[in-house]
């Protein structure tokens, strides 16, 4: 079996998939849910409910706020208590709809059964509309609205749909679990997207450290008779394999140009979780109101590692409580993986569509060591999957040399953290580079806006 990977950079952190054997459990409903209006990339959604309204599970409670935006649905049935700003997990105020849970009544027409529906719909536009109506966004982390990605601009055609099952971040196991437990649903979802994109080829990329998932997916392809339309690609274990540009490079041997989109090289990448959400939306008429989240960490005993099916909008504190509280020895709670996840400063925050994990890190793994001088060993440059020179960008950022930063492509940074991970001097490279990237992107946007006028 030939294993493929992306062409440059990358690091090999220990994968620590501690919750890999934990079956997906369904969490009971909390008394109150908080549904964020900004759980996707792009403009926040506009709430269309008012306090006092009764909503059913699966009912639209907010409409897209722009072209790149998404519908938001009520995950539960109950009464809207308030529509007001509430702090997200980083502590910044975001508009939320607060719903007091009453029973569990779903909208009519939503199929909650487990029966597999394999008949693929014919009408492309109807499928796209359904995906949009159901509020599907990319569940790999960026939460980009899926219907936008599935409708390439005129003149561009998709040659390859890549289903991202790499889950290259250490600790995370939610994608792995759905691939093991619901492989056929994912494949039908992939086939639907494949048809929407005009019948391009389809590759399911899975890293070699998940042999069970590879075997199960291969078996499911045979069972469904999909051998001709899709195949599984086994990828080497290497971070950040799940990065969109890196995955395209690994699977198709093509590099997305700086500032370009995957569709420029004929690629569309969708996460395995997104494929499942598409299946549920198109075949079962179920909007995106649930997702799978891993609760894990080295300080948790094996019995307390979990993969939960949660309703989007459950407060993190509720999930923490259901999982038995914070373990001793943990000093940091992270939402997402240890490389790119965000530290949770506000445990009262609500889960969003992109929530993939609650990770407890202990002091040895997370606390920064004091930085020493750069000796230009070049490990950061070797590790950078985008071929940048983090040591140089860091130096330019410190003196605010915006022209130098732009010339050295700080805007290409994918913030994967490989430089920080590889630096033997513990220099906070990414912290400086991230700020500089924001500033340079601002300058580029301002220049583009000035050109238009």
């Amino acid at each position: 079996m030939s294993k493929i990977t992306f062409s440059r950079g990358g690091v090999h952190p220990h994968d620590n998939k501690l919750a890999r054997e934990c079956r997906i459990e369904v969490l009971p409903l909390p008394p109150v849910m908080y549904v964020s209006m900004a759980q996707h990339l792009g403009a926040p959604a506009k709430p269309i409910v008012a306090p006092g309204d009764f909503v059913k599970a699966g009912q639209v409670i907010a409409e897209p706020g722009g072209f790149i935006s998404a519908f938001v649905h009520s995950p539960v049935s109950g009464t809207v208590k308030s529509v007001a700003p509430r702090k997200d997990l980083a502590g910044n105020p975001v508009m939320h709809v607060e719903i007091a849970v009453e029973g569990d009544v779903w909208m009519d027409g939503i199929d909650l059964s487990d029966t597999l529906v394999t008949a693929l719909p014919e009408d492309r536009d109807a499928v796209l509309a359904k995906i949009k109506e159901c509020g599907i966004v990319g569940l790999g982390g960026a939460t980009f609205p899926t219907h936008v990605k599935l409708a390439p601009p005129p003149g561009k055609t998709a040659e390859c749909l890549i289903i991202n099952g790499t889950e290259c971040e250490p600790f995370l196991t939610s994608d792995y679990r759905i691939m093991v437990e619901r492989p056929r649903e994912i494949l039908v979802g992939a086939a639907i997207m494949q048809n929407v994109l005009g019948g391009c080829r389809c590759v399911i990329g899975i890293e070699e450290n998940k042999p069970e998932a590879i075997a199960i997916m291969k078996k499911a392809i045979k069972e469904l008779g999909y051998e001709k339309r899709m195949k599984v690609a086994v990828l080497k274990k290497r971070y950040p394999q799940g990065g969109e540009k890196q995955l395209i490079d690994a699977v198709m041997r093509r590099q997305v140009r700086s500032g370009g989109l995957p569709i420029d090289v004929g690629a569309v990448v969708q996460n395995a979780g997104t494929a499942l959400a598409v299946y549920e939306a198109v075949q079962k008429n179920k909007p995106l109101v649930t997702n799978v989240l891993t609760v894990t960490g080295k300080s948790l005993p094996e019995s307390r590692q979990h993969n939960y099916l949660f309703r989007i909008g459950m407060p993190l504190s509720y999930i923490i409580e259901q999982a038995g509280g914070a373990p001793e020895g943990a000093v940091k709670l992270v939402s997402g993986g240890p490389m790119m996840g965000k530290a949770v400063s506000n445990p009262d925050a609500a889960t969003v569509k992109g929530s993939s994990s609650l990770l407890y890190l202990d002091a040895a793994d997370t606390m920064r060591k004091s930085a020493s001088s750069c000796i230009r060993c070049g490990r950061c440059a070797d590790a950078c999957p985008m071929g940048l020179e983090p040591f140089l960008l860091n130096r330019l950022a410190k003196v605010s040399d915006m022209d130098g930063l732009e010339a050295n492509a700080v805007q290409d940074c994918i913030e994967c953290g490989c430089c920080l991970y590889s630096c033997p001097a513990n220099i906070p490279l990414l912290d400086n580079i991230r700020v500089a990237k924001g500033q340079v992107l601002g300058i580029i946007r301002a220049r583009a806006a000035a050109k238009k006028q």
Partner: protein, 301 residues
Amino acid sequence: MRDVLIALAPAEILSVLVYGWSELLVLAVGITSCVLLEWAITKWMLRKPSTIGDLSAAVTGLLLVMNVPSSTPWWIVVIGSIVAIGIAKMSFGGIGQNIFNPAITARVFLLVSFPRQLTDWSVSQGFIHATDAISGATLLGVYGEGGMEALTAIGYPENHKMFMDIGGSAGEISAALLLLGFIYLLIRKVVKPWIPLSIIGTVFVVSTIFYFVNPEVYTGPVFNLLTGGVLLGAFFMATDYVTSPMSTLGGVIYGIGIGVILMMIRYFGSYPEGVSFAILIMNCFVPLFNRWFHQKKFGRA
């Protein structure tokens, strides 16, 4: 840095065994004075947290010791440490800021200031009996003085085993052990092979050309590779992170530059050996190479 110390250890241990107490004294003085000096400078002059924990001062001290003869008086070694740590390293702002390799700067300083002591290859009795090859003068020295004829007169090449006890500075004693150390560094992924390879390749090509033009006057490639500090310099000093280019292309050009300059000095210069000068000269170009050559960026072909 610990890996560099480990990699240098076999050659230095052999040289202690061969040269005896005098080398042990030089070694002790060299490393202690470098480390103490760095500690003192950070404490009293820069008032910064000490950086001796990163072992870079120890590496500088060891390299300096390996670059001078075992018969060097201890006070010259101390002066060398002051130049290496005080002038070449700390006055630029400490580790990571220096333009020139500290150990080489110190060696060159000592060589031009104390030429007699620094080319005194007289040998004291060591802990193990060395073969007859360790004589009063290095092969390069003989060649520099009297050309090819003088070399033939002392029985080159028949009487000289090239991979053991070549003679010269302490660290140049064994090409085989230096190679071993370098392979260790490669395996540990501490250094990349491009700079040493390009230096060795250039030395090989240049000396081959000259040797074929006139073998009566010019020494051959094997002689040039295995004598003097080529291997020590190429493996351990030209690859110093701080003073070598970061990109592969820059590194290759840097290596070629060192190789050419070193062969020119050997063939035409007044010094018998040119590795230190070559590396110092090419050190000057490193900031320029770092500005010119960058690694290939993703999606910007």
